[in-house]
Symmetry: C2
Subunit: 130 residues, 2 copies
DNA sequence: CGCATTGTATGAGTTAATGCATACACACAC
DNA sequence: GTGTGTGTATGCATTAACTCATACAATGCG
C-alpha cells in the first residue's frame, strides 16, 4: 500500500477541447519528466491510480503509458509498476531554427524562474483562448 | 483569383502526435488571431485553400472553422468567405508574467513562420531528459 | 443571365478513441 | 502456496474523426 498517494496524481487534469485523453495524459507526464518533477528511476503512479483519479478507462491510460515507453521515456515492468527511464538524455538536437527558438524560450523561462514545460503549456493554452 | 495567396497559409503545419487535425488547424488560427497576425476584419484563407494546402478534407477544415465561429472568433459568410471577427478583442489575457512571456513567444514564433503549438512541443521535447 | 467562388450539406465507409467487463501473467511479501 | 498489486490482453459497443464524392445555396462579377 502506498503511504503518500503520488502528489503528482492530484495535479493531473483533463481539458475538454477535443484533444484525445491519452494524449493529454502523455503530455502531462512527459512534461513532468522533462522538468524533473518525476525523477529518473522513480515510480510513476499506477495505471489504475491514474484511471481512477481521472475517471477514465484503464486501457486509455495504458495507451498513454505505452507511447511513453515506445519513446524511451519510461519503463513498464509487469507485476512491479512503471518507472521513469534513467537513460542519459538521448535527444541532443538544436540544428533546427525552431529548436534554437525553443532553447531560447527555455533559457528565458529559467531566468525568470519558471518551468519551461509550464511556459509550453501556457503557449498552448493561449493559442486556444480565442 | 488571389494575387497573394495568403502567406499565413504557407505557415500552417500538421503534427503527427495524435491531436485531431481540426484541433490543430483551430489552434493555429486562434493563435494567429490572438497575436494579431490575422487582423480583425481581415479575410481568412478559403476553406478549400486550407484543405488543399494541408491535403485534408474540406469537411475537416470546416469543422475547425465552425468551432472558431461558435467561439465568436471569426464570421462565416456564405458565398463571400471567412473573416476575423471585429468584436472588441475577446482575449484580454496577460496579467500573469508567464502569460506575457508565452504571448511574446507566440509572436516570435509566428513572425518566424512557425506554429506556436509546434514551438511549445519543441520546448517540451527539449526539456525531456527521457 | 451566366458563371466562378465560397460556404453549406449529406451519405457511405474506414479508422481511432473511449468505456465496460473480464480475464491472464508476473512479481513480491507473507 | 496464497494473496494482493501491477502490467497485459480481449471482446463488444458506442461515438468521434477523417476521407471521398457529390451536391446545394448564396454572393458577386461581367
Amino acid at each position: 500500500m502506498h503511504t503518500h498517494t503520488h502528489d503528482f496524481l492530484t495535479q493531473l487534469t483533463l481539458r475538454d477541447d477535443g484533444v484525445p485523453i491519452y494524449v493529454q495524459i502523455r503530455e502531462q507526464f512527459l512534461a513532468a519528466i522533462a522538468t524533473g518533477a518525476l525523477a529518473r528511476g522513480s515510480q510513476l503512479p499506477t495505471m489504475r491510480e491514474v484511471a481512477v483519479a481521472l475517471k477514465v478507462d484503464l486501457n486509455t491510460v495504458r495507451h498513454a503509458y505505452e507511447e511513453m515507453e515506445r519513446r524511451g521515456a519510461i519503463d513498464l515492468v509487469r507485476g512491479r509498476g512503471s518507472f521513469v527511464a534513467n537513460h542519459p538524455s538521448p535527444a541532443p538536437i538544436d540544428a533546427d531554427p525552431l529548436d534554437r527558438m525553443a532553447l531560447a524560450a527555455i533559457a528565458r523561462s529559467l531566468e525568470a524562474g519558471f518551468a519551461p514545460a509550464e511556459l509550453a503549456h501556457r503557449i498552448l493554452r493561449l493559442c486556444k483562448g480565442v
